[in-house]
């Protein structure tokens, strides 16, 4: 029974240390140049310039084959680069989805012309993607989507509506999950396909949706008789569900699933100084014990992914625990930080606390809700 989950211990190989040093050097240079000062969350930034500089270092698509612009580095090396960037609050938002999800998907299931056309541009930090899965009537129940592509001369005609699409207004392409066959009552997962949609195509309208924090990150995307060339189908028509679910381990276990409130912790520590009072120390220690545990778990999953193992269950564990922690951090810190406000409050901390409190509701929704994740874990326990 204790074998339900596997979290093999992992020691990062030595090449990761050297790489970590390089990334820290790069971040220090970037900081010194004053180009950015630290974002709270992978989703909160969009800086094509930064993505370009990162691409020039070879740190986007770094695990992919050289012939597609990659550097053939290990998945663990990629882990080190991304965790360093996230911890520093680097503005990774522009290329994030392409690097984590869309590129690997195209590499694995796409055809060679897609790979040659798109992957090198992603690695240079010039080509950004968004994920078109959710629809107004389809959230957790993703298989119920209605956006539809029908075959036409030379390709597909796409009609429908996507919603909550992060960065659609700033991305070049969307990977759109759509129906290419009508619903088979016996198997709802049949007949779903993934198309690479050029967001400049005629018939697409993109409307940003302001979130409760006042920012415009996600969008509604409307497709009205949009033509998608036939060679933009990823894999075979009908393979969409299999492809979508095959990448969940990567999407759910990474450091972005427990570091979204990290900047708040750092700024709070800056404020309390090097000899904090016991309550402040306790708050920091509590958070730190969780962060340290989650990083171990997340790294362990990365190690198993590197070995090609299936880790969807473990990834769900990491994401549920990690996103809960992301929500708990502002709750822990506000209780101590709000005791008697002093005039020399660090503005950075106030800003990070405000950002985190306001954005916390999204942490346990985006990328699969808490309830859906716990359902996956319950299935792993043999309960369903």
């Amino acid at each position: 029974m204790s074998d339900i989950f596997r979290f093999d211990p992992l020691t990062l190989p030595p090449e990761c240390d050297a790489l970590r040093g390089e990334v820290r050097g790069f971040i220090a240079e970037e900081r010194a140049s004053g180009r950015w000062r630290g974002e709270s969350d992978f989703a909160s930034s969009h800086s094509p310039d930064f993505s370009g500089r990162l691409g020039a270092r070879g740190w986007i698509g770094m695990t992919w084959p050289k012939k597609y612009g990659g550097r053939e580095r290990s998945f663990l090396e990629r882990y080190v680069v991304t965790e360093e960037l996230l911890a520093a609050g680097a503005p990774v938002g522009a290329h994030w989805v392409a690097d984590r999800q869309s590129g690997p998907l195209i590499l694995r299931f796409g055809n060679d012309s897609q790979r040659q056309d798109i992957l090198p541009r992603i690695t240079r930090g010039e080509c950004f993607f968004c994920i078109g899965m959710s629809e107004p009537d389809s959230g957790s129940d993703l298989a119920s989507i209605r956006t539809k592509a029908v075959p036409v001369e030379g390709g597909w005609e796409l009609n429908g509506r996507k919603i909550w699409t992060s960065n659609a207004h700033k991305a070049h392409f969307m990977i759109c999950l759509c129906r290419t066959e009508s619903v088979d009552a016996g198997d709802r997962h049949k007949g779903l396909s993934q198309l690479i949609v050029d967001l400049k195509s005629p018939g697409i309208s993109i409307r940003p949706i302001k979130n409760l924090a006042g920012a415009e990150h996600f969008n509604e995307v409307l497709f009205e008789s949009v033509f998608v060339p036939g060679d933009r189908m990823i894999g075979q028509p009908g393979d969409g569900w299999k492809q979508v679910t095959s990448e969940l381990g990567y999407e759910r276990s990474g450091p972005e699933r427990f570091l979204s409130s990290f900047r708040l912790v750092v700024e709070f520590m800056r404020r309390i100084g090097t000899s904090p009072d016991p309550r402040d120390a306790e708050a920091i220690g509590r958070v730190l014990a969780h962060l340290a545990t989650l990083r171990r778990m997340s790294l362990s999953v990365a190690g198993m992914l590197q070995k090609g193992e299936t880790v969807n269950l473990e990834a769900a564990v990491v994401k549920d625990l990690g996103t809960n922690l992301e929500k708990e951090i502002p709750e822990i810190i506000r209780l101590v930080a709000r005791r008697g406000r002093s005039p020399n409050h660090s503005d950075m901390m106030e800003e990070a606390l405000a950002y985190t409190v306001l954005n916390a509701p999204s942490f346990t929704i985006r990328g699969g809700t808490r309830e859906i994740l716990r359902g996956i874990v319950a299935r792993g326990l043999g309960l369903r």
Binding site: S2, A87, A283, G285, L288, L291, A292, G375, G380, L381
Partner: protein
């Protein structure tokens, strides 16, 4: 033996020899002498002391594997205490009595002093909550880098019990003792950390057992015509329970690794005791909710595990104590030292 083999052997021994009745009898005051004999014959109490270099922590992985199984089966013995005591005595070159032992102090604020008396030494002072004090054959104290062996008869022990019904006695002493310098690098702070590590590992084992029991119960208990495990409300709670068990297991193992020389022991133990202690509270709460009234009975064995979780999480430093230590340790490195600290352990 490899850790997993040690774990297998220990798991089998405890599974065979620790029925619920034995736990109940021990809690009622009967020391399980036959169980102790079997455990002693298997060499378990010497797992730490077996290391060739005095004071070496090379035995930690084996000791931890045994203690995890002891925790899983709620084995009512001073096993962690005897392991630590024998390791201290071996490091100091004092012959260990071949019997259950305990260590003092088991709390951070040590109220024990050693002072010279003629040619020898006297140990004087108080220590609260001494595990298995009266049922041990020797109390091993570590004070100012010195190890002392005290006969329980020479001390005043006021009996007490933990939430799990395990002996936790208050010690008051002023007696002559055998004293030797501790092995290099060994001091009271290290022993306290190892005590905390032992509790983290025992809790990790007990937590895994609670998960098994609770999932099993959810599959067996039928209400409204189906197993309660089919209700989504129960599934969601069990998922949270399982996630906490997984986290506790990972972090306890990481601390064991660090203690046996592959990392920062102070940091890793503080993280483990704080995190596993939190998991213990959450898991026990959910497990009891899922078990309903039957789990609240003395008859059902769930409480053998949950009462141990509730007592072990408080021993060798409650979560808040380790959280404070962690917070101070992190703050001392400054805000920008936090990330290197996290990636460096």
């Amino acid at each position: 033996m490899s850790d997993s083999l040690v774990q297998e052997v220990a798991g089998k021994l405890f599974a065979d020899l620790v029925p619920p009745k034995l736990v109940n009898d021990a809690e009622a005051g009967d020391f399980p002498a036959a169980l102790w004999q079997a455990v002693n014959d298997a060499g378990f109490p010497d797992a730490l002391a077996a290391a060739e270099t005095p004071g070496s922590l090379a035995g930690v992985p084996d000791a931890a594997a045994i203690l995890r199984e002891a925790g899983r089966h709620a084995a009512p013995l001073p096993l962690a205490e005897t392991m630590l005591a024998r390791w201290l005595l071996a490091g100091a070159g004092i012959t260990a009595p071949d019997a259950p032992l305990t260590i003092a102090p088991a709390e951070r604020a040590g109220g024990l002093l050693l002072h010279r008396a003629g040619k020898g030494w006297r140990l004087a002072g108080r220590a609260a909550g001494l595990p298995w004090g009266k049922q041990s054959s020797g109390i091993v104290a570590i004070v100012d880098g010195r190890v002392a062996l005290l006969a329980p008869k020479a001390a005043d022990l006021r009996p007490g019990r933990s939430l799990a019904g395990e002996p936790r006695d208050d010690l008051s002493v002023d007696a002559e003792v055998e004293v030797k310098p501790a092995a290099a690098g060994v001091d009271a702070a290290l022993v306290y950390r190892l005590g905390a590590l032992s509790r983290a590992v025992m809790m990790a084992g007990a937590l895994e057992a609670v998960l098994v029991l609770t999932v099993q119960y959810a599959n067996d208990r039928v209400q409204f015509g189906r197993p309660i495990g089919k209700f989504q409300a129960i599934q969601q709670q069990l998922a949270l329970l399982a996630e906490n068990v997984a986290a506790a297991g990972v972090v306890a193992s990481a601390a064991v690794e660090a203690a046996s020389g592959q990392g920062d022991l102070a940091f890793a133990v503080a993280v483990a005791k704080a995190r596993v202690g939190e998991a213990a509270g959450k898991v026990a709460e959910i497990a009891h909710q899922v078990h309903g009234a039957i789990g609240f009975t003395h008859e059902h064995r769930l409480h053998h595990l949950t009462r141990r979780l509730w007592s072990w999480r408080d021993e060798f430093g409650v979560e808040s104590e380790w959280q404070q230590e962690l917070g101070r340790l992190a703050a001392a490195r400054g805000a920008d030292g936090l990330w290197p600290l996290l990636t460096g352990w």
